[in-house]
């Protein structure tokens, strides 16, 4: 491949899954095996290319290459399609294709019994194409388009079992909630285009994220909040990220999104798509840096989300829902990292989180698969005995998630906490508390699911190798990725010019203390004895109001229902009334126009055109014909009269001419 310019390779990466999704769309829905093979093939090619691009990028870490072609010319301003290779896109490409490949492989077995398997793989391939496009785009517009494609794919996949009302509702909820963020992102995009004059990120020193433009944008005061335009744009972009990455207050869709098939939860709603918001912030980081107030907002929103979701996760009983809240919490952690520590800390946590959270979801899927669809942790139990391999993998994932020493999460979370400690101690407290919650709810979950005896009547069994193999691979990554990446300087790679904050033993001690403390607390509450069926939760017994608050997810859904929902309901009722009124008016208008035209039709058509126009003309022609036939009557004398008349007329004409001279 040496004589192909790498930018073409990068541009080709999303095209393979896209092509495959189109091919799969043409397959019969029942050809699940063929579809899974095609999807795997498409993504496999992308995986190879992505790894090659990663290798190129690793050889030359400072390398930023862009390439594109003009798409639209708007007056003097071109809108280009452009792609980019830089450490961000290269690392994301490798992560997305690698995890995606494993999850596609896993899905081939997990979804094999579904009658709509081919449709599933078509959507997955479409998602992969959109996600890869998002990662490599060098233009805010292209990024936004891919952003919407992944949003669409997410909607389609959450609602994959659309016959289930809950799934259909969750799909709508996800789509609409993220659309709120997307609206802000779109406004930010337009604003950037208006004041920045381009949508390209990097373009020979004139890109939106290059120092010249950033300084220019930071120099224009914006009419709101006393921020500069750069600050407002980055705030709007962050609002888009809040929607997509499930940050408070737009996090409500993400737990519901677990109605989709489990591989979807793993790929889209844990590892990749929800991380797109974080990625977006990391991508446009130079704009955020231009106005430090925005970064503070990012950090606080992230920190609050991390703690809030961590607390809510404590009181959930659905296996996947706990993981979903955990994802929200970890995404908040990444935002926190971006807010206080820069691209390196946030993205490092994104990458390591992708591995262990995908692992946890896939393992949860394996448990659900093995336990015949049971998702309620109070009814699971004894899984360790019947599914040993899945259990080991799940433990690996938990190990990494809880940031126990030398797991993946340990290194990335440590970076974030360290940066928070140095820059924003308030946020540090939030992050540490969130980490405590993480350990606590994971321990609670483990205590319910794995030890003891099975609490319902089904007989769990270990999943086939096609499900467990990806688990094993991901387990290795969950354990080793963080340490190895840290050792090889991933932070310096992701963020050129990164300077490590001063190492603090205190932070390390706190991090370790909350991780172990959470586990210990969880074990004290849940782990000391077998948990019988039907027994209320230990926290619910001791702190009923708190538990009820958390179990109902802080009544966020109900709050939205009571405020936004009610306003919307009133508006909808108003719209119905307006619609009826408009209908009456339009009906009346239509009826009168109808009557008018009917009258006109009678008078103009029948009288004017038919009677006068057509019939009158006919009569005139017939009369003229009658007259002229009367002349042609066979009477010689009659003819002679005409001849005489003609001769006399000629004579008169001649005489007249002679007299005139």
């Amino acid at each position: 491949m040496p004589d192909i310019h790498p930018i073409y390779l990068v541009a080709a990466i999303p095209l393979f899954p896209l092509a495959m999704s189109l091919v799969i769309a043409l397959l019969k829905p029942t050809r699940g095996r063929a579809a899974s093979f095609l999807a795997l093939l498409g993504l496999g090619v992308s995986l190879v290319l992505s790894l090659y691009v990663l290798k190129l990028s690793l050889q030359e870490p400072g390398l930023v290459q862009t390439g594109g072609f003009p798409w639209i010319q708007l007056g003097p301003l071109p809108v280009d399609f452009s792609v980019i290779i830089d450490p961000l896109s290269a690392s994301m490409l490798a992560m997305v294709t690698f995890i995606g490949f494993l999850i596609f492989f896993y899905s081939g077995s997990y979804m094999a019994d579904d009658p709509d398997c081919a449709r599933f793989f078509g959507y997955l391939s479409l998602f992969a194409a959109g996600m890869l496009g998002l990662v490599i785009s060098n233009s805010l517009l292209l990024l936004f388009m891919c952003w919407e494609i992944v949003g669409l794919a997410s909607y389609l996949l959450i609602g994959f079992w659309y016959q289930k009302p809950a799934a259909a509702a969750a799909a709508k909820k996800a789509f609409i909630t993220t659309r709120i963020g997307d609206l802000f992102l779109f406004i930010g995009l337009l604003w950037a285009f208006k004041d920045g004059g381009t949508l390209l990120f990097y373009y020979h020193g004139n890109g939106l994220l290059e120092p010249g433009r950033v300084a220019w944008l930071a120099g224009i005061p914006a009419p709101v909040f006393g921020l500069s335009v750069a600050g407002v744009i980055s705030l709007l972009i962050f609002a888009g990220a809040v929607g997509k990455s499930g940050q408070f207050p737009l996090h409500v869709w993400l737990p519901d999104a677990m109605e989709g098939p489990t591989p979807v939860s793993a790929l889209i709603h844990a590892a990749t798509m929800v991380a797109a918001g974080v990625f977006l912030v990391a991508r446009t980081y130079p704009l955020f840096v231009a106005d430090p107030a925005v970064l503070t907002v990012v950090a606080w929103v992230g920190g609050f989300t991390a703690l809030f979701a961590g607390l809510v996760a404590v009181a959930q009983n659905d296996l996947k829902r706990i993981l979903a809240y955990s994802t929200v919490s970890q995404l908040g952690m990444m935002m926190l990292g971006l807010g206080v520590g820069g691209v390196g800390a946030g993205m490092f946590h994104l990458l390591s989180h992708a591995f262990f959270k995908a692992l946890l979801f896939l393992a949860a899927g394996s448990i659900i698969h093995g336990c015949h669809g049971e998702q309620d942790i109070r009814k699971l139990g004894g899984v360790a005995r019947s599914m040993p391999l899945t259990t080991v993998c799940y433990l690996c994932g938990t190990f990494a998630l809880c940031a126990l020493p030398f797991g993946s999460g340990y290194f990335s979370k440590d970076e974030i906490l360290l940066a928070a400690w140095h820059n924003n101690p308030g946020v540090f407290v939030l992050g540490a508390a969130a980490a405590f919650c993480t350990s606590f709810y994971m321990t609670r979950q483990l205590c319910y699911v794995f030890p003891g005896n099975h609490r319902s009547h089904a007989h769990p069994h270990e999943s086939p190798w096609r499900i467990t193999a990806p688990l094993v691979v991901l387990s290795l990554f969950a354990l080793a990725f963080g340490g190895l990446a840290r050792h090889w300087g991933i932070l310096e790679y992701l963020e050129p010019g990164f300077h490590a904050p001063e190492h603090s033993s205190l932070v390390m001690a706190v991090g370790l203390a909350v991780a172990l403390g959470g586990i210990l607390a969880g074990w004290l509450v849940y782990g000391r004895r077998a948990l019988p069926v039907g027994e209320p939760d230990a926290v619910a017994v001791t702190l009923p109001p708190v538990y009820r608050f958390l179990e109902n997810r802080a009544w966020m859904d109900e709050l939205y229902m009571a405020t936004v929902g009610r306003i919307w309901g009133a508006l909808a009722a108003l719209a119905v009334v307006a619609d009826l009124a408009l209908n009456a008016v339009t009906d009346w208008t239509v009826l009168s126009i109808q009557n008018l035209s009917r009258t006109l039709a009678i008078y103009s058509d029948r009288v004017l055109i038919d009677q006068w126009g057509f019939d009158g003309l006919c009569r005139a022609v017939r009369g003229a014909g009658f007259l002229s036939t009367r002349a042609q009557n066979g009477q010689l004398q009659g003819y002679l009269r005409f001849i005489t008349l003609g001769a006399v007329a000629l004579g008169l004409l001649l005489g007249w001419a002679l007299l005139r001279g």
Binding site: N633, G634, Q635, L636, Q637, L640, R641, T644
Partner: protein, 103 residues
């Protein structure tokens, strides 16, 4: 003094009378008579132009008129024969009834 104009006017009057007879009369024989009157008006014209012309020594006018009278005699006989034949066929001398070329 009788001049060319007098002859010409007389000839025109005669022609007009003949033409009127041809146009208005319905009896076939009267129509033939009208035709004869028109012919004679023309003959009178020929004679008058010869008589008042510059070449009295030549007899073209006279000869034309003689020819014309001869032809008129022949024509009158053929015409009368035709009228009789038509009368036999249509059982009427009325020309307005003779308006078909076949039965």
């Amino acid at each position: 003094m009788v001049t060319l104009q007098h002859y010409l006017i007389l000839s025109a009057v005669l022609f007009s009378i003949g033409l009127l007879g041809v146009l208005t009369r319905r009896h076939a024989v009267i129509v033939l008579i009208g035709i004869e009157i028109m012919l004679n008006a023309a003959n009178l014209n020929l004679i008058a132009f010869w008589r008042f012309g510059p070449h009295l020594e030549n007899f073209e006018g006279l000869l034309f008129t003689l020819f014309s009278i001869a032809v008129a005699a022949a024509e009158a006989s053929v015409g009368l024969a035709l009228v009789i034949a038509v009368y036999r066929h249509f059982k009427t001398p009325d020309v307005e009834k003779m308006n078909t070329l076949r039965e």
